[in-house]
């Protein structure tokens, strides 16, 4: 497919998606939604890596995206395990209630 879009639009789109993720991390109290916003930020960066990979005609950028996906999967598995453990102890996943490391 012939792509005639300037790289600047991809930069702009990634910046907007990253900002939405960052605002979500700052503005929400539910830990799971904060987690999802972090995924959104990771995806904004992935999109930028793929667009630069296409710009330079180099497959390395896409390989980096694979590794980011693997690390994101590991992060989500461990993070959700921690969250379910916190929920078991505190009966809530509200970030404003998680002020103590140990009870």
């Amino acid at each position: 497919m012939i792509n005639s879009i300037s790289i600047n639009y991809y930069l702009l789109l990634s910046a907007v998606l990253f900002t939405i993720g960052a605002v979500g991390v700052m503005a929400r109290r539910n830990s799971i939604i904060i987690f999802m916003c972090i995924e959104l930020m990771l995806n904004a960066v992935n999109l930028l890596l793929v667009s630069f990979s296409t710009l330079h005609g180099d497959a390395k950028g896409q390989v980096f995206v694979f590794f980011i996906m693997a690390v994101a999967a590991a992060e989500v598995a461990v993070g959700l395990a921690i969250l379910s453990m916190i929920y078991r102890n505190v009966k809530s996943i509200d970030t404003d209630l998680m002020t103590n490391l140990k009870n």
């Binding site: 005639s4 639009y9 990253f18 109290r29 799971i32 390989v63 590794f67 996906m69 999967a73 969250l83």
Partner: protein
């Protein structure tokens, strides 16, 4: 159509949808709705990957993110009984501060792009770099060691998740 090619139309529509769904992730009250909107955002990003000639990555993105990670999120939300609309919200002051901080972040991003050179993606791009054959060659020759390390990382994450998630027995 108005001087735009079909690729540019697709880019515009996909970008608009991705930004809208991303905003809905942040603003919807119910966490289950947030997860579903995030899945739709991921589909839009996969469409962008197809536009960028990264066909294999688009499929992997849908399978890994929409298929595995978001299902994990849904499971945890259902287990915790969080599918309610009346969860506690931050105060308006902190929400406004978050919006202002995000606006400033976006301002910095856009300001750093100002005056950048306009490079079209057809400049060097070949349509063959996103195929399975080409990616496999790069992944299993140049990035073989990081690939093996990634498997160790996934194993460690799996063991860690099980260790953290199991009930404490004293």
């Amino acid at each position: 159509m108005l001087g735009y090619t079909i690729t540019q139309w697709l880019f515009g529509i996909l970008s608009f949808l991705a930004i809208m769904f991303a905003l809905m992730v942040v603003f919807s009250r119910n966490p289950v709705n947030s997860v579903l909107y995030l899945v739709l955002t991921f589909f839009c990003i996969a469409g962008h990957y197809i536009l960028l000639n990264a066909q294999f990555l688009a499929i992997v993105h849908i399978v890994v993110y929409a298929g595995a990670i978001m299902v994990l999120f849904l499971f945890v939300i259902m287990l915790m009984n969080l599918n309610q609309n009346d969860e506690p919200q931050k105060t308006w002051l902190s929400k406004i501060i978050a919006a202002v901080a995000g606006g400033m972040l976006l301002f910095v991003f856009v300001g750093s792009l100002k005056g950048a050179e306009q490079l079209n993606l057809t400049a060097y791009g070949s349509s063959q770099i996103g195929t399975v054959k080409n990616l496999g060659k790069v992944l299993f020759s140049e990035f073989l060691f990081p690939f093996e390390i990634a498997s160790v990382l996934l194993l460690a994450a799996m063991v860690g998740a099980i260790m953290i998630g199991k009930k404490e027995t004293k």
